[in-house]
């Protein structure tokens, strides 16, 4: 079993728009190791979300390759790629936009299980209830619809749905950015707990450096489509090497007086 869960090798993605070509990702190599949490930070337009979609095989790189567990995502036939899909799941920034509004909470969690033909309806229901419980949703509310939950609870439901197929890799794109501070803290605790209990590999994307510092083992910094720095979380925050990383860190406004900054 290779130590690398997903590996991008010299990946470039060029979008053709009316305004010309946009090099969203420019020759980036990035690896998420098994059981590791890799944080990916950068400002808007830095290419971090495109990078996430490339590593999920949701978009095809213009050049370069992406391997998931040793298999080249862009060379796999569609059928085999679909077999691989359950092993990589995603959590998005806007939980309401990512849930099916006309499906109940439990319906949303059961749907991927149905699509991938896991068990029968009864066992799917049991599993979905377990998952809702795992992420801290009162199972008595399982039949309610997404809009009847708060933003934080919606994100918990989206996380439960992502976990249903027992993925090896969870890609989270700004999963706490639309949440209030007190709710963000709850979701961060949930992620920490899930990582410790399930041994998941995480690609965790955020513009919030504090959130990434708390969760990630390693951090990669992107700027204008390029990877500018990559190191252990400790080193990156203690002794940033790249000028852009330094600029990013020095822009952080501390909350507490005794903050380490």
């Amino acid at each position: 079993m290779p130590d690398e869960m997903v590996r991008a090798e010299s990946v470039t993605k060029v979008f053709r728009t009316r305004a010309g070509e946009v090099r969203a990702v420019d020759d980036v190599s990035l690896t998420v190791h098994r059981g590791e949490t890799l944080g990916l930070v950068g400002e808007s337009g830095s290419g971090k979300s495109t990078m996430a979609r490339l590593m999920m095989g949701l978009q095809t790189p213009t050049s370069g390759r992406v391997e998931f567990d040793g298999q080249d995502l862009n060379k796999l036939p569609a059928r085999e790629l679909r077999m691989l899909r359950p092993r990589m799941q995603m959590v998005f920034q806007n939980p309401y936009g990512s849930l099916l509004p006309h499906f109940s909470a439990i319906g949303n969690v059961m749907e991927p299980l149905r699509l991938h033909e896991r068990g029968d309806k009864e066992s799917r229901r049991t599993k979905a209830l377990e998952l809702l419980d795992l992420v801290g949703i009162n199972t008595g509310h399982a039949e309610l619809y997404p809009r009847q939950f708060s933003g934080g609870q919606q994100q918990r439901i989206a996380i439960a749905r992502a976990l249903g197929l027992e993925p090896d890799l969870l890609v989270c794109d700004e999963p706490t950015s639309s949440l209030d501070v007190s709710i963000q803290a709850q979701i961060l605790e949930l992620f920490t707990d899930l990582r410790d209990r399930l041994g998941l590999s995480f690609l965790f994307i955020s513009h919030n450096l504090a959130v990434v510092e708390r969760l990630a083992d390693r951090v990669a910094v992107m700027n204008k489509g390029q990877l500018v720095e990559e190191s252990s979380t400790e080193d990156l925050f203690r002794a940033p090497q790249d000028d852009y990383t330094k600029q990013l860190l020095s822009a952080v406004l501390p909350i507490r007086q005794d903050s380490a900054l």
């Binding site: 501070v181 709710i183 709850q186 961060l188 504090a210 708390r214 925050f237 822009a251």
Partner: protein, 325 residues
């Protein structure tokens, strides 16, 4: 109204009409003062009523909302009582607003020139040539390069940071006495954030009072002198900014600080507040925070509501915490 207050809000109550149900109270007896050259932070999570409070004062509430009580004294007038005609003379001239998203707050079909000169011309402050001159100067002041040329562009032709600056220029051009900034840096990148705040600070140094609505405590600390914390439509704590953050008193403020993550705080334990803010249609009796409060003592917390005193210094709406003035 205290002597040197620019704006004094007293006991403001705003409700929202609902079909087939009791009106929803979004702002429930809010009071605060802002002085010239002071930056006041209104801190709170979504649904706490911070934006509705400021929209009530500005008279820009949605149709379903109604102000059912209180005063907003500004320059000897009660903004809540003078009516829309008079309020229009204040809005954009003496009180200006900056919003979270310039893309939504600015008119996409008009050039910057039209939008920056609009207030000057509408209020009859100066003629068109002078208005243009002032608009160009304001764009230059907020650090937009080549303002003579940029004034002819449309909002969508600017980057997010530049657009935010243009909106600030729009608010500054009439030299308002009071600026209300609703999450002015939430939509911009961190490297731009401080530049925007420094721009606003210049305004403050020239004597403009600023009310900043924010959920970002780092931004509040960097920019604001004082803060009020809102929860479920009420002010639960008032304090000088630094003291609120270094030594919060109200259990909700303590929870908010315990939930905040910040760089360098990796090893600090997270102490999230359990549960979620109340649904305003099921507002808890007594202290609205008591169902989530670790220090709550029943029955008192569930029946009685502590009221914040009005005045300088700090105060917390909680009988369990001692507050030195």
């Amino acid at each position: 109204m205290s002597e040197d207050a620019l704006l004094s809000v007293r006991e403001l109550r705003t409700t929202f009409r609902r079909e087939g149900a009791e009106p929803l109270t979004a702002v429930d007896g809010v009071s605060f003062d802002v002085r010239r050259g002071q930056a006041l932070a209104i801190v709170g999570e979504s649904g706490s009523g911070k934006s509705v409070t400021m929209r009530s004062v500005m008279g820009i509430l949605p149709r379903t909302a109604r102000i059912t009580g209180g005063q907003a004294l500004f320059g000897g007038r009660d903004l809540l009582a003078i009516g829309d005609r008079e309020l229009r003379k204040v809005r954009g001239r003496e009180i200006a607003m900056v919003f979270q998203s310039a893309m939504e707050a600015m008119n996409p079909t008009l050039t910057l020139e039209r939008q920056l000169t609009e207030h000057l011309l509408w209020h009859g402050i100066c003629n068109k040539a002078e208005a243009r001159k002032r608009a160009v100067r304001a764009l230059g002041d907020v650090g937009i390069p080549d303002p003579e040329k940029r004034i002819r562009t449309y909002p969508f032709q600017l980057s997010g940071g530049m657009r935010q600056r243009a909106m600030i220029a729009m608010a500054m051009v009439t030299e308002p006495a009071l600026l209300i900034a609703d999450e002015p840096t939430t939509a911009v990148d961190v490297t731009v954030q401080r530049q925007i705040l420094d721009l606003l600070a210049e305004l403050k140094n020239r004597g403009t009072g600023v009310i900043m609505i924010t959920h970002d405590l780092g931004v509040a600390r960097y920019f604001c002198d004082d803060a009020v914390v809102m929860y479920a439509g009420r002010v639960v704590e008032r304090a000088p900014m630094d003291r609120l953050l270094d030594d919060p008193r109200h259990p909700y403020s303590v929870g908010l600080l315990g939930s905040g993550v910040e760089v360098g705080g990796r090893d600090l334990p997270l102490r999230p507040i359990p549960g979620s803010p109340p649904d305003l249609s099921h507002r808890p009796e007594g202290c609205p925070f008591h169902p989530r409060c670790a220090q709550a003592e029943l029955p008192r917390c569930a029946t009685e509501q502590e009221i914040l005193t009005i005045g300088p210094g700090r105060d917390a709406a909680c009988w369990k915490v001692a507050v030195d003035a």
